[in-house]
Symmetry: C2
């Protein structure tokens, strides 16, 4: 055994995905899966115990999602390498994952070759984000972020509440809500609340 294997931690709430990944990865002579976790909380424990070289992380998970888990891991181990695995990619998810400190991202429907190639590249520190993703990230940075209150209002918009209902729900005047709505529409670059709702869902700003 000339070179030590790359030690991997798998984090995914889907059993079949964990099994599939494990089978795929264990067939490689330079890779070994040292632990699996089905939740963010479990992932933290396993990371502590095994200190893997690289963590493969699903984004959509119940309770603690992949971005939050990634942030928690990197808070304790700033040089931890995390590669995000997503099923369908909303810009917001990827953005949050990368902001949380993920080193890269992959779609789950990629073939084995690009998957293995990316794992080795990330481990070697030579991984670069695809140009298309980098472009979307740049665009996202250009787009102004919503304030906490605005996100709150946006969630209620998505639920179909009127400005008046949102006002009483938040304990503020309807006029105040209207102001927030105006800012939200402006920041999202849309004309009305329906477009705001659908783009919020599309970008993953709010969970449906």
């Amino acid at each position: 055994m000339a070179k030590p294997k790359i030690r991997l931690l798998l984090v995914d709430d889907h059993l079949v995905v964990r099994i599939g990944l494990r089978s795929l990865l264990e067939m490689q002579p330079d890779l070994t899966v040292v632990a699996e976790a089905a939740s963010g909380a479990a992932a933290l424990k396993e990371f502590e115990r095994h200190q893997p070289d690289l963590t493969l992380m699903d984004l959509r998970m119940p309770e603690m999602d992949g971005a939050a888990t990634t942030a928690a891991i990197r808070a304790k181990s700033p040089d931890a390498r995390v590669l995000v695995l997503t099923t369908f990619d909303t810009d917001e998810d990827i953005f949050r994952a990368l902001q949380a400190g993920a080193c890269g991202y992959l779609l789950k429907n990629t073939d084995s070759e690009p998957l293995l190639k990316t794992i080795r590249a990330v481990h070697a520190g030579t991984y670069r984000l695809p140009a298309e993703v980098a472009a979307r990230l740049a665009q996202r940075q250009a787009a102004p972020e919503l304030s906490p209150r605005e996100r709150e209002v946006l969630e209620l918009i998505v639920k179909g509440r009127s400005n008046k209902e949102i006002g009483s729900a938040l304990g503020v005047a309807e006029n105040t809500v209207k102001n927030h709505v105006k800012v939200i529409l402006d920041k999202l670059g849309v004309q009305d609340r329906t477009q705001a709702a659908t783009t919020a869902i599309q970008r993953g700003i709010v969970r449906l």
Copy 2:
């Protein structure tokens, strides 16, 4: 070999899921995976060739989705058994799958025991839909279906178009659109177009 094995066809566009399922299923003495397909079209070919006892079918796939593929299979082989595997369940997807002739449905994040149990139950013909799902189906049948034109209008609502814009897009008067919208709101059981948009997305009536 006293009893013949249950011969399975796996249909899923995710490589890791196919591998994971195959590993899981091949460990069972009474199950064998005779073929895999990564698309609806490929699934039809493999079904023709192998005539499996049971097909495990993903719903969300590019080009031809699971419901359409299930319908195509059952059009040729009316007694084919198809078990739908979904990641996240929108009512509409499940409903369409069952209408297309699927025998049952499972979430991908289920553990192995319920998965194996369900496979054997479906093959034995003793599978019953969970009460919760049956209730949702009953509710869906109670809900009146949208007419083709109404679905068309709904799609434009989701895109954030105004009634006037929808009218000119469809070549009809704004008043006509308003009538359609009224009916849509009524059929969906919602108060305004924003709720219509979000519930349409949630139920899977329109693709985002």
